[in-house]
């Protein structure tokens, strides 16, 4: 398992995807750290400087806690989309490349079960995504604390929620990879799934608008089968934003959203493992 993880990380480093992601993240973190200077007095923002220029606050003082929460929840929403896309981009090749002629023989000739091999690649990919998220979220969280002395551990929880979404989508990317042995197809189908699932958040409206009952049932069925990418994004923002933003997702059935996505993850992964273990190479 450790050998397989090491290889996943070395491969990511060699492909520049990981390095580029870390370089961009570092750049963003450094700019953020250097550009934002806040003057906090008694828990309120009395003055702010952005790139050395004073920001006109109209003589008002802003509650720093609310400001930080607003920034962190907004950023977690941004990271939900960007982080998920980058993580899939950086890991979708793991199965197709493994299955290449001349490569798969080297791995399967070792005393490692096929399911273990696939799962070690999957968990390796997740570890890679987790490392990326931890680096970006952890650094920003530390800088925000350094600048404002406000610490919201919930911001770090956003990473878990994003990672859960990545896990579900990566399981599907692995399934597509096992079936097609193509990185391109894995990427395209997984991104398509992300958007289609997000569209299906409006399944009730779509079902009401379509003419046939059969189509309406199909839309509703797909909604319950697919991961709830739109709801998970909103839930991530709400998780970080706390009370202020939780109202926006007050009617959300968390159990159904997370539960059905977890079921999708498990089904995709099980199917991928089953097909991989039966495949002739």
């Amino acid at each position: 398992m450790l050998a397989s993880w090491e290889e996943v990380f070395r491969e990511a480093a060699a492909r520049w995807t990981l390095l580029a992601y870390f370089a961009l993240s570092t750049l963003f973190i450094l700019i953020f750290a250097a550009a934002v200077n806040l003057d906090v007095v008694n828990g309120a923002l009395a003055g702010a400087k952005l790139f050395g220029q004073s920001v006109d606050m109209g003589g008002r003082s802003i509650d720093i806690d609310r400001l930080v929460l607003g920034f962190e929840s907004g950023f977690s929403g941004f990271l939900y989309i960007v982080g998920t896309f980058l993580a899939i981009f950086a890991t979708a090749h793991l199965v197709p490349r493994l299955q290449e002629k001349g490569t798969i023989d080297l791995y399967l000739s070792r005393p490692v079960g096929r399911v273990s091999l696939l799962l070690s690649r999957y968990t390796g990919g997740l570890l890679l995504a987790a490392a990326n998220l931890l680096y970006l979220l952890g650094s920003l969280w530390a800088i925000i604390y350094w600048k404002t002395k406000v610490a919201h551990p919930r911001f770090l929880l956003a990473g878990l929620s994003i990672l859960f979404t990545i896990a579900a989508l990566l399981a599907f990317a692995f399934l597509a990879g096992v079936v097609t042995s193509s990185t391109g197809v894995s990427l395209m189908t997984t991104y398509a799934l992300f958007f289609l699932a997000a569209l299906l958040a409006a399944h009730a409206k779509i079902a009401a608008a379509v003419s046939s009952e059969w189509t309406a049932r199909l839309v509703t069925g797909l909604y319950w089968i697919f991961p709830k990418t739109a709801e998970l994004g909103r839930a991530t923002v709400a998780l970080v934003g706390g009370r202020g933003t939780l109202r926006a997702v007050a009617d959300m059935n968390y159990f159904a959203v997370y539960g059905s996505t977890a079921l999708f993850l498990l089904t995709s992964l099980t199917l991928a493992c089953w097909l991989f273990s039966r495949k002739d190479f």
Binding site: A3, E7, R10, D105, L108, F281
Partner: protein, 336 residues
């Protein structure tokens, strides 16, 4: 009784197209039994079933019927590969890894701990002639160097069984000799080696026994000597083989060729050979040598794999025609 390291019993493999319309029988029920410490060559033209056999042995492909075992363990189980080293043809190690990293990762995947692997890497790279390349990325390696690295990766966990597919492919003549020596050294240590190669000279020099596959069946199996012995033809060295002697020998129905001062006689059977010897002696000629003419492995291979109207193989797997003339000199061990 201890199981043979490599056992293949009635192995069949039928490939079907995606929608099941086409059906190709890659293996039509083959039996192989490779003994411990033996270097066994698998020969055959393209599509004969060599690679499929090796892939089934390694669990890469599933058989349609029959059994394959490594060290007595069914090949479907990962545990069967615990003591197996494999060098696939056209293998592609990740180009971003260095030679040392490659051996480390694949060594640990074979169940070794990191410390043990680390200790073995320098010696192993030295052994395959890559000591100076330990920290160079594999993508910079030539084909021959990649092949040497593949061999090192196959040996990293000191396997008891080695399955090698074209191990000298892309390697220069000196390197080939080094690899041959290395394989012989492994065999002396008791490693069982299954060698799959198109280079017949390579097989001839390295293997103890070979099996020739043709259209998914074992066309012949035995030692190189068994397979190359053409016992219907003999080299006969006699003093002064004049035309009268040759005419007398021809009277018996033997085919006679004069080659470099000696005679090559084609006979029907051993009785016929003895009759010829009697004729030579009765004419006062001195017989100083009588030996069966051996053909090269290449001749045998071409004869075996060239389609002929009648099957070239006897049911026992020895070459058709050989057994009757030699009183069962074919090795007779092809059955599983």
């Amino acid at each position: 009784m201890e199981a043979s390291p490599i056992q293949v019993i009635g192995l069949r493999k039928v490939y079907r197209s995606r929608f099941g319309s086409n059906r190709i029988e890659a293996l039509a029920g083959i039996d192989l039994d490779v003994r411990a410490g033996e270097v066994f060559g698998l020969l055959g033209p393209n599509g004969a079933g060599k690679t499929t056999t090796v892939k089934i042995l390694l669990g890469l492909t599933f058989p349609t019927a029959g059994e394959a075992r490594l060290d007595g363990v069914p090949c479907a189980l990962p545990e069967s590969r615990r003591h197996v080293g494999y060098l696939p043809e056209g293998h592609r190690f990740p180009g971003y890894l260095t030679a040392a990293q490659t051996l480390s990762i694949f060594g640990r995947m074979s169940g070794l701990d990191a410390r043990t692997v680390k200790g073995r890497i320098p010696k192993l790279l030295e052994r395959v002639g890559l000591a100076d390349w330990a920290h160079v990325r594999v993508r910079k390696f030539s084909k021959g160097m990649t092949q040497r690295l593949g061999l090192a990766a196959a040996l990293v966990h000191e396997p008891r069984i080695l399955l090698l597919d074209e191990p000298t492919d892309g390697v220069d003549p000196v390197g080939r000799r080094e690899i041959r020596d290395l394989l012989r050294e492994e065999a002396r240590r008791g490693t069982t080696i299954l060698l799959n190669s198109h280079l017949l000279s390579e097989i001839e020099r390295t293997c103890d026994r070979v099996a020739v596959l043709r259209q998914g069946r074992v066309a012949a199996q035995g030692t190189i000597e068994d397979l190359t012995a053409q016992t219907s033809r003999y080299k006969m060295v006699v003093s002064a083989p004049d035309d009268a002697l040759i005419a007398a020998l021809r009277e018996t129905g033997a085919g006679i060729e004069r080659v470099n001062g000696h005679l090559i006689v084609s006979t029907r059977d051993l009785e016929h050979v003895n009759a010829l010897v009697d004729r030579v002696r009765s004419r006062g000629a001195m017989l100083s040598e009588l030996s069966p003419v051996r053909s090269s492995l290449e001749d045998v291979f071409v004869d075996l794999v060239t389609p002929s109207p009648s099957p070239p193989v006897s049911p026992s797997g020895s070459i058709a025609g050989t057994e009757s003339q030699t009183g069962g000199r074919g090795d007779g061990e092809t059955g599983g």
